[in-house]
Each structure stands twice: as structure tokens, then as C-alpha cells.
Assembly symmetry: C2
Homo-oligomer: 127 residues x 2
DNA sequence: CGGCATCCTCACGGATACTG
DNA sequence: CAGTATCCGTGAGGATGCCG
């Protein structure tokens, strides 16, 4: 639904709001467990679909395909199909993907650095 | 189910696996849209429950409570109840929470820096 | 091997209402 | 104002099967 207020907005405002909603959309895409684990697993070299399924512990065939599509659509991974038989599909992080990976690495570091704190906090919370 | 292999594992190995599974659990807790948005919204000063609900666009009462509990349990936010009427509850990032926020900031920066790339990638993917 | 479609389940999450 | 409980629909996501 389009409100009167929205119709009165200036073009620049509309642009800003569009960029914001796009940013939120990307954030939602990327801020999810599987996407981040896949990006982490891709690391700095290219992987096959089946390698990823083995390395990303607990991911289902479906979730892997789905998230890889999403990452490809957003230009974070590059998908290379070798027309052999049997098929061979390789995934590689793009420049944008590698940049994202840096921040994911940060998240992993954080997790391990604060593991102890968190365990303590949980024990205290239990009481 | 406990396998024979698991029974043969040395204690150190067991510890490592426990730490890993805990790390994965924390990762799953934290790598979700609402948790990250809430941490970002908390910023560097303390906020009331209702302030958070206003600032985290689109979050429901329920999701906010639920995620705040989770963050509190993991020692990422501190919850301070003022026994006044009406009640006043304030949330603040702990040291661990502030450290996490740094990496979330990185994620936000990344989102904005690559917004253009991503838009382009999507257009190309559409074809 | 990798992708896609289908079915089916269950838990995530919204809406609502009641308490302190 | 903040928290908890309940109800309930929807969709995320697992399992399976077939295709190129």
C-alpha cells in the first residue's frame, strides 16, 4: 500500500529509503547461520559442491544449494560448471565474498575468544 | 546414541569436541538477523525495552524479549530492572557484547560498501 | 555429481490477552 | 511498561526421487 506521505517524498529521500531497504535485505540474506558457515568453509580456495557438503557440518543438500544460489545471486560466490560427465561444479569467493569473509573470520575469533566468558555467564544465568 | 569409537576417545579429545559444539551453538545463537540488529541498536549506551522495540525496525515484542533473554543468558547484555511503577528495564552491552558489536559494525560497513556491487550482480543474475 | 521438484512436518514467529 | 502464556498460521527446511 502506498500512503499519501510516501507520494510527497522527494526523489532523494526515495533513493535513500530504497538503499536502506536493500541494505536490510542483504543483511537478512547474509546474517544467517548457513550462509556464514558456507562462506567460512569456502575459505580462500575453490571447492566442489560435495566438498562443501562434507565440510559444512550438518548442512542438507537443499540448504546448501539454496544458500549457494543466494550467494551467487548477490555476487559473493562465483559458480563454475565443468561440462564433463559426471558434472563438476566449483564455487569460489568473489572479491566481495572475500571481503565479507574477513568479517566472518572476526566473528569466529570472537566466538573462541569469549567461549569461557559465555560458559560462565550461562552457569550464572542458570541460577 | 554413544558409539564404541566415542568411548575410546581420550579426555582431551572429548574436551575439544565439547568446545567445538559449544562454539557452534553460540555461532547459531548469534548468527541470526534479530540478534545482530539488536546488538547494533544497543550501540554504546544503555536502552530501555521500548526504545529497542522502536529502534529495531520490524521486530515484534516476542522476538525482542526472546533474543534479549538469549543474549543475557550468553552474557552479552546486562539486564537492569528498576523496581519502579511503571517498571523500567534497561539493557546494556557487556564487555563481550561490545567486542561482538565491533564485528557486527564490520558487517554493516561491508554491506554499505558493496551495495553497488551487489545490485549489479543481481541484475546480471536476473538474465 | 549436482540441481530441482515434491511432499510433509514442526517450530518459528505474529497476534492477542492477562499479570505485576 | 515489561514479561509471560496461549493460540495458530505460515514457511523453513528435511527426506525422497527423478533428471541432465
Amino acid at each position: 500500500m502506498v500512503t499519501k506521505q510516501q507520494l510527497k517524498d522527494l526523489p532523494e529521500d526515495a533513493d535513500l529509503r530504497r538503499a536502506d531497504s536493500l541494505a536490510r535485505e542483504i543483511f537478512s540474506d547474509v546474517a544467517n547461520k548457513w550462509a556464514l558457515l558456507i562462506i567460512e568453509a569456502l575459505g580462500d580456495r575453490t571447492r566442489r559442491f560435495s566438498e562443501l557438503r562434507d565440510e559444512v557440518e550438518g548442512v542438507s543438500h537443499k540448504m546448501l544449494t539454496q544458500n549457494l544460489r543466494m550467494l551467487e545471486r548477490n555476487g559473493l560466490v562465483d559458480r563454475k560448471v565443468h561440462p564433463t560427465v559426471p558434472p563438476r561444479v566449483e564455487y569460489t569467493l568473489t572479491e566481495a565474498g572475500r571481503a565479507l569473509r574477513k568479517t566472518v573470520d572476526g566473528l569466529c575469533d570472537w566466538t573462541h575468544r569469549y567461549l569461557g566468558h559465555i560458559e560462565d555467564a550461562r552457569r550464572r544465568f542458570g541460577a
